[in-house]
Point group: C2
Chain length 433, copies 2
C-alpha cells in the first residue's frame, strides 16, 4: 500500500519539506496534466486487476471487480486523487489507494463476493481549483445539476499556478482538455452502488492526541462557501484622510476579525482562503475586494446563525467605511456551495465498528476497545453526497499533528495499513449482510 | 491645453465613467506599450517646437528650448505621463502638458529667455508598476543608485493587467523593450537644471472645498513604503480549531486594523494597497501573506514613530496567532522606499506666489488674495528629488472631490488653464532673477 501510494504521488510533486524522496507535498489540482497522468495510471492498474472501468460526464472513474451476482449493484470504496495547491500525500489519495489494495488482496486470496466490489475516483473533491467541493459526487447524487458543475470556473488564484491555463477554465473545458469527459451519465441511476465506504486521514487532532488508532465516522459537520465582494472607492493613499476613504480592504480586515469572533461565539469556524484587492497598487486605496468565506459547524442551524449574524455585521462594517463621504462601501454575497450536516448509515457504521475492533484486537495494550472511537468529520468528503443515495460511512486514521492541506501532512505506513484492513473487512462484512 | 491633454490620453484609455469621449480614466503603466506611444508623441511634439530632446538611462525625456545664454542650465517644467492602473487624466499628465503649452506660448509670443526652458517627462513617478515612486528623478538626483532602479521588479498585481508581461519584468528590461533605455547618464551632473517647477492637481480636498484657485506648494509630507511577509502555516479550514491555527491572513487583518489606529493617533496615514494570500484555496488557511504598507505624515519623525509602534504591535499580533501550537506567525519587513519630508526653495515659492496672485487678480471677487493659499503636498512628486539638487517648487490646482488615483479624477479646463498661466509666469520670473 505504502509503495503504491508514493508511486501514485510521482504525478504532481508539491513542496519539498525533507530529504527523503517521499518528503514532498503534492500539487495535483483537479483536471490538471498531473491529474490526467495519475488517472491514466489508475485506469491501467484497475484493468490489470481485471476490473471493468467506466468514466462518466464528470470524469468520475468507476472500476468494478465483478461478484457472483450480476443483479445487485457493487459496493464501492471511493475517494479522490486531486489535491490542494499545497497539499499532502494522504488526503484523498489514501482512500483510492486503499481501494486498489483491497481489490489486490481479494484477488490474491481468491475471495469471491456476492455483489461486485468497486473503486471510484471522484473528480475535484477538494474544491481547490473549481470552488465547489465534492462537486462530482454531488452531480452523481443529483444534488447538483450537471450544467452548473460543467459551467463552474476555476478560482483566480489558481491561474498563477503552472498547472493551470492562463484564462479561467470551466470544468467542462478542463475535462475535455485531459480527455476525461466521459459519456456515461453522471448519476446514481446510471452507476448504482450498494454502499459507499471511504478511508481518510482524520485531518484533525483528536485521534493522534488521544493515541487512538481508528475513528468510526458517524457524521459530517455542515458548511457553506460564499464569495463576497466589497465595493468601495479607489483613491490616493497619501492625500485621502481616513474619514474620506471607502477602503474596501480595511472593511475586509474588520470583517475577517469579526467573522472569527462570531464563529467562535457559536462553536463554529469561519475562514477566508482567497482574497484579491484591486487595483493592486501601493499608493491606491483598494476600491474592490473579493474574498471567499467558509463557515462550518456541527449543526446546520449553527452555520445558518453565523451567516445571519455576519450578513448584518458585514453590512454595518461596510456602511461605516465611507460614511464620511456619503459613499459607504457595499458588500455582496454569493452562495457557492451549501453542505448541510450529514449522519451516516447505521449498517455501514456497524460494519466499520466491528471491523475496526477486530483489526486493533491484536494491539499489545490492555483495553483495545479504547483504540477505536466514534467521530464527526470536520471536513467534507464525497461520502457526504453518496450518503444521500446509498448506505455510506467512513473510517479515519490519525495523522501527524492533525495537520492537513499542508505539504507535511503525514500518516505512518502502519496507520495506513490499519485503515486499509478495516475497509477491506467492512466491505466484506457489508457484502455478507 | 485641454485639447492636447485629452489628445495625449488616447494612449491608455482606462475605465469609462461617463458618456463623453473624454469620460474615461487612464491605465498607462510606466514603460508599457501605451507609455511608449505617448512618449513618442511627446518627443515628436517637442521636436516640432524646435526643442533638443535627450533620453537618459532611466528613460527620462528632456526637451529644451534654448535661451540666449548657453552657459547657464535651463529651467525645467516637469512631471510624468505614467498613471495608476485605475488612474485619471490629470495626475502627472497635466504637469507635462502645461510644459508643452508654456513652450508653445513662448514660441507664439516670440519670447526669448536668458537660460533655456525645458520640459521633462520623468519615468515611473507613480510607483504603481515598479514599487518605488519617483524612482527616475531619484536616480537623477543621485539619491537612488542606477543599479537598484534598473533591477527593480514590477509588482505582482500588475502581471494580470493586459499591458504587462506575464513574468515579472525589471525596469531595465522594460526600458529596453520599449526602446527607452537612453545613453545619457541619469544624473543632475549630466543634465543640469537651473530650477524645477511642477504643476499638479492637488489630489486632496483643501482647495476645492475652500473654493480656492491656486495652491502654492511649500512642502511635501514624509512617507515610507514597506513590503511585509507574514509566515504562518497552511492548514485545513474545516478541521482546524482557531487555537490551532497560524492563520497569516487573520494576522494580516488584525495588523491592518491596528495600522489605522496607530496612524490616526499620530496624525499620520497608513494604507495597504497590495495584498496576496497563498496558497489561495477556499478551504486552506493561508500560510503566507505578502502586503504593501504605505505610512505618511507631515514630519519624518512622525512616520518613524508610527513605524516603530507598528513593528512592535505587528510582532505581538503575529506572536499571538499560532501560539497555541507553539508555531506562531512571523512577520518580516522590507523597506522599499523612504522619502523624508521636504521643504521647497524660497525663491521658487516666491515666483509661484507672485505669479499666482497676478493670474487670479482679474477674478470677479472682492478679495482675490484669498484665492491663493500655501499648501503642503500629501503625495510625493518628482519635485521632491529635484529639490535635493536645484531650487524647486510646485503649483496645485483644485480637483473634483479631492479625488485622485481614480478614473473619475477631474479638474476643469479653467483650473488647468489657470495653473498653466501660473507656471508660465513663474518660469519667466525665475529666468529674470
Ligand atoms: N477532505 C477534504 O479535505 N475535503 C475537502 C472539502 C472540505 O473543504 O472539507
Ligand atoms: N502624485 C502622485 O500621485 N505621486 C505618486 C507618489 C505618491 O504615492 O505620492
Amino acid at each position: 500500500l505504502a509503495e503504491d501510494l508514493h508511486h501514485s504521488c510521482q504525478w504532481g510533486f508539491g513542496i519539498r519539506w525533507g530529504e527523503a524522496p517521499t518528503d514532498t507535498g503534492m500539487q495535483r489540482l483537479a483536471l490538471s496534466e498531473e491529474d490526467r497522468n495519475v488517472r491514466n495510471w489508475f485506469i491501467k492498474t484497475m484493468q490489470d486487476l481485471r476490473c471493468n472501468v467506466t468514466v462518466d460526464q464528470m470524469g468520475n472513474i468507476f472500476a468494478v471487480r465483478p461478484g457472483r451476482r450480476a443483479d445487485v449493484p457493487p459496493t464501492f470504496i471511493g475517494s479522490h486523487l486531486d489535491t490542494q495547491p499545497t497539499g499532502g500525500r494522504y488526503d484523498g489519495i489514501l482512500g483510492v489507494l486503499s481501494g486498489i489494495e483491497t481489490l489486490k488482496t481479494m484477488n490474491d486470496m481468491g475471495l469471491e463476493t456476492e455483489g461486485g466490489v468497486g473503486v471510484v475516483n471522484w473528480t475535484n473533491e477538494e474544491g481547490a481549483r473549481f470552488p465547489i467541493s465534492m462537486v462530482a459526487s454531488g452531480v452523481w447524487a443529483e444534488s447538483i445539476p450537471l450544467e452548473q458543475a460543467h459551467a463552474l470556473k476555476e478560482v483566480p488564484t489558481v491561474a498563477s499556478l503552472p498547472t493551470a491555463a492562463s484564462a479561467p477554465e470551466t470544468m467542462k473545458s478542463a475535462l475535455e482538455k485531459i480527455d476525461f469527459l466521459g459519456d456515461v451519465p453522471c448519476s446514481y441511476k446510471s452507476t448504482p452502488m450498494a454502499a459507499h465506504f471511504e478511508l481518510h486521514i482524520e485531518q484533525g487532532p483528536h485521534l493522534v492526541s488521544a493515541g487512538q488508532r481508528v475513528g468510526v465516522v458517524t457524521a459530517v459537520q455542515a458548511y457553506r462557501w460564499f464569495r463576497l465582494n466589497i465595493i468601495g472607492r479607489d483613491t490616493h493613499t497619501g492625500t485621502t484622510a481616513f474619514e474620506h476613504r471607502a477602503d474596501a480592504l480595511y472593511a475586509f480586515s474588520r470583517m475577517m476579525v469579526r467573522a472569527r469572533e462570531v464563529a467562535a461565539a457559536n462553536g463554529c469556524l469561519a475562514s477566508v482562503g482567497i482574497v484579491e484587492a484591486k487595483p493592486g497598487s501601493v499608493n491606491t486605496v483598494p476600491g474592490l475586494v473579493s474574498f471567499s468565506l467558509d463557515i462550518r459547524g456541527p449543526e446546520t442551524v449553527l452555520v445558518e446563525e453565523v451567516e445571519k449574524k455576519l450578513r448584518s455585521d458585514f453590512d454595518a462594517i461596510a456602511a461605516a467605511e465611507g460614511a464620511g463621504i456619503g459613499k459607504p462601501c457595499r458588500v455582496e454575497w454569493t452562495l457557492d456551495f451549501d453542505s448541510p450536516a450529514v449522519k451516516f448509515h447505521e449498517d455501514c457504521i456497524d460494519c466499520v465498528q466491528q471491523s475496526a475492533h477486530a483489526v486493533v484486537a491484536d494491539t499489545p495494550v490492555a483495553d483495545t476497545k479504547s483504540l477505536v472511537r466514534s467521530i464527526m468529520s470536520g471536513a467534507g468528503h464525497d461520502s457526504v453526497f453518496t450518503s444521500k443515495r446509498v448506505p455510506t460511512s467512513m473510517i479515519f486514521i490519525p495523522c501527524k499533528d492533525g495537520l492537513s492541506h499542508h505539504p507535511e501532512e503525514f500518516s505512518t505506513a502502519d496507520d495506513c495499513a490499519t485503515g486499509a484492513s478495516v475497509i477491506l473487512q467492512a466491505v466484506v462484512r457489508y457484502d455478507r449482510k
